[in-house]
Symmetry: C2
Subunit: 411 residues, 2 copies
Amino acid sequence: VTAAGETGRLCVGLISGTSADGIDAALVRIAAAAPRVELIAFESSPYPPHVRDELMALYDPAASNAVARLCSLNVVVGDLFASAALGVCRQAGIAADQVWVIGSHGQTVWHQPATDPLLPLSVPSTLQIGEPAVIAERTGAPVVADFRTADMAAGGQGAPLVPYFDWAVLRDPARTRAVQNIGGIGNVTCLPAGGDLASVRAFDTGPGNMVIDALVTLLTGGAQTYDRDGRLATGGRVDGDLLERLLREPYFETAPPKTTGREEFGMPYARRLMEGYGLAAGSLAPEGGATEAERARVRNLIATATALTARSIADAYRRWLPAIDEAIVSGGGSRNPVLMAMLADLLAPVPVLTLDALGIDGRAKEAMAFALMAHDALMGCPTNVPGATGARRAVPLGKLVPPGRRADPLA
Amino acid sequence: VTAAGETGRLCVGLISGTSADGIDAALVRIAAAAPRVELIAFESSPYPPHVRDELMALYDPAASNAVARLCSLNVVVGDLFASAALGVCRQAGIAADQVWVIGSHGQTVWHQPATDPLLPLSVPSTLQIGEPAVIAERTGAPVVADFRTADMAAGGQGAPLVPYFDWAVLRDPARTRAVQNIGGIGNVTCLPAGGDLASVRAFDTGPGNMVIDALVTLLTGGAQTYDRDGRLATGGRVDGDLLERLLREPYFETAPPKTTGREEFGMPYARRLMEGYGLAAGSLAPEGGATEAERARVRNLIATATALTARSIADAYRRWLPAIDEAIVSGGGSRNPVLMAMLADLLAPVPVLTLDALGIDGRAKEAMAFALMAHDALMGCPTNVPGATGARRAVPLGKLVPPGRRADPLA
């Protein structure tokens, strides 16, 4: 076993999100003492298009030969995850067999935290592929994989899991922190000052960038897919009446734990919002020839959608969190200065920092989290957060695949 | 850890075969010394019909929502496996948390040892369901599951795996043994006298009961599904010309390692055989009114099919095995006295024993094998047999799921 003392153990974390863009790999050094996880290398590898197409095909309820295709895809994706692990080691000049453990989230192909009444025999369940035995074989490292099933077996929703990382790495003995991620969806982890794992709460605050992104995509006819640097929102004015109406959405008043997603705040939501505001798709397309009044209206709507994200976050803190001393923001939304300014206004005098400002690369956070969960699982620690997933109790997550080959099993 | 000394560790093995009839559970005591595995209790639980229907539905290439259904079924089947493990412990009056490890093969829903040229992205792969995290949660025992993937990652066919049990339990320092299972398909494990794991060879010899069963089912119009006690074959005479023709099937001359199945020796094969012999389906049906000549012809055909199994086994030994000192037969075929007599004739003077005569319950063998593989995997032993699967080397098989809860983690 690699000495854990001063230097810590080398671990790799691997994940591909539900959008199935590609695989994030983080090589980290993990120690028992703060800061616990130190990033050594990070690499994001897009899926080859034919693999992504095949993954997307499985979402089609009418896909033929789905079980046979899933069976192959499990190995194909596992092979790509192995390559991602080897790649991030190569980048850092580290031999893969020096890696103490690889934590692989895999690729989610289905996740139903609740029963689907339209399907026979439906039960809460989740399905990740990316065969860890293939990763173990190609890297020679032990692999911990398939983290969500044990939480669900203990009555949880199997998500979110990253709050474990937040608690392990970002908790503070004296300050209560809200760790806010703003991806497509916004989610917060609340870390009470000096609190243990049982004190941690986490839930989705509502839309993150999803509504803004969808509006920008619709209104520019696809010429832009997000509001880069908040440029569109900057020139707009928040429509206060519309904002108050949007905040009446029942999700915001539901008590946590709770999750939301594309079903609620995806493209159909944005389209209704756009049409209700009297705008048509492509209004801001390069060839659209919009009038100045139309352009102003577009900017106002984007500003209002940005305010929706900021307000829903601030409202959620007021409603469901204890008084916080600090908010730490990561995700694409942390790079939108309009959104960040709105959030700072709403939370003042509580300081709003970015995760990057704390020296943690936000892009690598999820992959780092699975490296940490794999490491701590091997140490015998429960790694789910019942206050986030709703599980009956803390349980160890993941299945261990022993290394297929190691030059020296004691190395 | 339960003391392993005199008494051994309590382990449970679970499997459901590809026919998806139901779950076999064996509670065993495993020790380092011979006989290594001692059966304490065995129970076979049929799947509830609606679960079996849903499993079968997944084989339909046109099944809709297959991925969502598989996702749920993984948990539903895991839950039934957990119940089977708890059931066999209850039967023996043993608390589930006294079990040291559960080895769960799971339910195979797809297995393609070779690439399927008709499917995009097809690679050798295998897919077992029956979520082990659910078994660990409900039993409180650690679970080792998903044994076939690591062998395939090491270049093997992922099957057969039971030869590991044969070697561990049935090898002899002085006698070379052929351990012959006669299920639907016949398969043999050759254990050279005093040989190590690398010396073991295993392959499918050809049809076991499959052709006999299919003929009986066809000819009796389903009134009988197998030749109970060899009664039909007893009154028949082997057609030597036909037998020689059948033995020219290329499979028999292919060098091992090799596998065969329903594709080759299933119902279409039996139907061709029946029709080529001038017999019609239902000839021997209760209401068939067959002439005495027809009845004799039916018996001759069944006797010939029985001889095909016996000859293909004996020929395979002569062609591919070293000189054997003993044959040990298990499976349904070991209860067909005509088949056993033919085999004894062909192999004489080599004695032909049954597994049951050695004090090992043949019905429980597969489930016992997965208990043993789980146990030995936790001991750090490779448990695949490269001479059986074609893997590049011996590797540990299975993924370890830690127990979700244990009153005392050191118990």
